[in-house]
Structures are given as C-alpha cells and as structure tokens.
Subunit: 223 residues, 2 copies
DNA sequence: CGGTGTGAAGCCTTTCACAGCA
DNA sequence: TGCTGTGAAAGGCTTCACACCG
C-alpha cells in the first residue's frame, strides 16, 4: 500500500482505541520472541492479547501492511515496527512526584526500568522525606521540581500524591515542559490540550467491580 | 418515567461506559457534600468529573429521573442513589495476592479502606514472606488461598504478582468463588464469563503516553 | 428563566465476510 | 490452501438541541 500522499508526511492517523492496544501486541510479541518460531498469526496474537483476530489485523493495518498472506507476521520485523510506533526505541526519563506508599512502590518497581522508563527523580513536599534514599535515588524537594525536570530533560511525570496536591503538581509539571502525565491521584486534573494525561484510579476500578458484583444474579459458590 | 415493564424487575441496563463514570460522579458528590449547598447542576458535576454536561445528564438518566428542572440534583439524594447502584452501601472483603512492592503499597493504602474495601487477607507464594506482618495483617501462604477466600467470604481478589503467576492465581480465586478480579500483573488472564476482570497495567499506560509524546510535533519548552 | 430529560444525529469502534495474494 | 487486508455493516457511545417543567 503506497503511503497516502497529501498531507506532508504523517498521513496515517491511528485511532485511540488501537493505540491503546499496541502495547498488548508488543508484549505478546516479546513473549513469542522467546520461542523458536519467526512468524505469528493474527489469531495467535489475538489470543495472547485477549482480543479478537479481526481486531488485531485491523489495528496492525493502521501501521501498514506488514503481514504475509497465508503465513502471518514476521515476529522481529513487527516488533521493530511497533517499537518505533510507540516510541520505545529510546528510554524516557521519568519523575515521580509523591513518595508515599504508592510512589515508593513505583520507584522500586522493576517493570518500569525493564521497559525503558528511567526514573530520574523522586520528589515530595514533606521536608521529613527529602534527603531520604529510595533505591539509588534521593528524595528531592517539591520546590525544586521545575528545575529538576528541566535540568534532566524529564518528559513524563507520574503524580502519586494525595488528591489535594494533584492539580498544583500538574501545573508545575506543565510549567516545566512535561507533556505526558500519569495520574494516580483520585482527582481530575486540568492541563493544556497539548499535554496527554492518563489516569489510574484504584478506588474507581474497585467501585466498577462492585457495581457488576452487585448486579450479578449471584451464582452459588463452587461446591 | 415509568419503569419499563416486561422483564421482571431490572429492566434498566446501564451501558458499560456510563458505569465506569459513576465513581467519578460519586467522588464529585462527596466533595460537594462538604459545602453548604444542597443541589448541584449537571454542569458543575461535569466540570468536577472532567466530562461534558450532556453526558452527566444522560448517565444519570439511566438511574432514573432524579433531578429537578431549573434547579439541579439534590446532593444527598443523588449520592445515596449512586451508592446503591454501585453497591457501596456495605463493605467488600478483599484479598491481595502477591506482597511485593505493589501488593505492599496497596495493603497500606488508606484509600481502599476509606472507600469501603476491607483488605482481609494478604497472600504470597514466597515462604520467606509468609508470617511477616504488614499493617495489622500477617502474610499467608498461597496454598491456603482457596480456604482463606471461602472462610472470610472474600468477593474481590487483587492480583499483584509477577506476570508468570497471574493465571494460576486467577484460577484459584475463581475456584474459591471470587467473581471480581483486579489484575495488576502485566499478563492477560482468562476467566469464566461470569467473572469480571479489570486490569491496570503501568507499563501499558506509560507506553501509550510514549506514543503520543513521540507523535507530537514537539513544542518548544516554556521560556 | 434555568436546567433537566431525551430522541435523534454524528462519530468512533468492533465485527463480519470475503477478495486477494504468497 | 491459509491467512492477511479491508470495505462495509453493525453496534455502541457521545454530543446536540430542544421540549418540558419547576
């Protein structure tokens, strides 16, 4: 398929729902890489990612036609293609703001580093915490956030503060030039439209489960 | 609006997208409760929940017509209505499986208890961890999971194990009768259809941010 | 007048189904 | 033959716009 010519270069516009699934395919491909096969079908990827095969093909078609009919997708090739699309060909410097239970756990969580997200700063408002060490990082003062972010070229900010502090922290991250924020605080934050925010809210997730649990016609327990 | 008659009782079928927003309205209403007003408009709720006013009205209309035209929604009444719908009128007993960084943080996280989710068990496969205390709970053995879940009437399981262990843990939770699972492990888990699963995957969220960061025409940093 | 409740329109996403190609 | 790539259909969600009513 020829690249659509018209708008200068990036004519491909991937729907948000498809973007959100690329990491699942990426993970599945990493698993397949461990094996002795070099191609994988949309069917197999679908099972591994927990979605449906037509969806896999449709999603991958937004990246271009990289499969072979009758065979499947070449694993290393597709992996490379998705890495580039997701911007995972280089590491991203991250700052975690709020070093409570959650911030602490995130700082120690190997899964981030393993996937190319380098935590370069831990920041907290509490003077009692500033200076303490978590792993090989020292906790720094919230007042220095803007300076820290600029100085270390941090592009992703993780907010793990109480709800009350979230908006102020977001404002400072934005002021420092951060355009990607992952918000764990149970609060809505408002940012300029060029900034992306994703939120993760534990209580919300549990409440959604609670809804379905309550509305289920209760099945008897396994004997 | 008369209750649709036809199917026995629960004719109202709330779309999944609307269910996922009810916790946001719930939280917003709790905030409004702190104030000296007793009604709130869809406009105000929308701002607080970070959505649009028409959406608030549509979502609330699935619960019935509980607003007053020209005025808004009566706060305590609507709060009660949503609590019931979400099943938050009583506490839910929760088990956390996997007491690593994340499991530990979740166990200590006050936000869960504050919202009616009672952590009644911490379970881990590592014998070295079994017996250790976290808050006022002792870590118990994974082998006893089924027994623990049944004995304490646990209805919600939180999986905070490494990816490799996730499916086996899910199977045991299901065998013990759990029908609601919150999965933090970076793995797809398969469960019977009567079981609800919600997943939270840190790395996935960051990779989605990475995508948008990479595709943004980079703005110069604030001067 | 002001703000809800809701059909209808518009948009986005998923699924289908099959032509096309290695 | 087998599996991809993709138009087209179906389904779901969001937004609009306005009748309706306190």
């Amino acid at each position: 398929m020829a690249q659509r010519s018209g708008t200068p270069s990036n004519a491909r516009k991937i729907p948000g729902a498809a973007v959100a699934r690329l990491p699942l395919y990426y993970r599945a491909l990493l698993e397949v890489t461990e094996e002795d096969v070099d191609t994988v079908s949309s069917d197999r990827l679908a099972t591994m990612a927990g979605v449906n095969a037509a969806q896999v093909r449709k999603d991958l078609s937004y990246l271009g036609s990289y499969g072979t009919r009758g065979v499947g997708y070449e694993v290393p090739f597709l992996l490379d293609r998705i890495s580039r699309e997701l911007g995972l060909t280089h590491d991203w410097p991250v700052a975690i703001v709020g070093v409570g239970n959650l911030g602490h756990a995130l700082a120690n969580y190997g899964g981030l580093t393993a996937r190319g997200f380098r935590v370069l700063a831990l920041v907290d408002a509490d003077p009692a915490k500033v200076g303490s060490r978590v792993g090989d990082l020292a906790v720094e003062a919230l007042d220095d956030l803007v300076e820290i972010v600029r100085g270390r070229g941090i592009t992703i900010g993780i907010i793990a503060t109480p709800a009350m502090a979230a908006q102020a922290v977001a404002d400072q991250l934005v002021a420092a030039g951060v355009q990607s924020i992952l918000n764990f605080a149970p609060a809505v934050i408002t940012v300029p439209e060029e900034v992306s925010v994703r939120k993760v809210d534990l209580a919300t997730e549990l409440q959604i489960l609670s809804f379905y649990q309550s509305h289920r016609r209760i099945k008897e327990r396994a004997s």
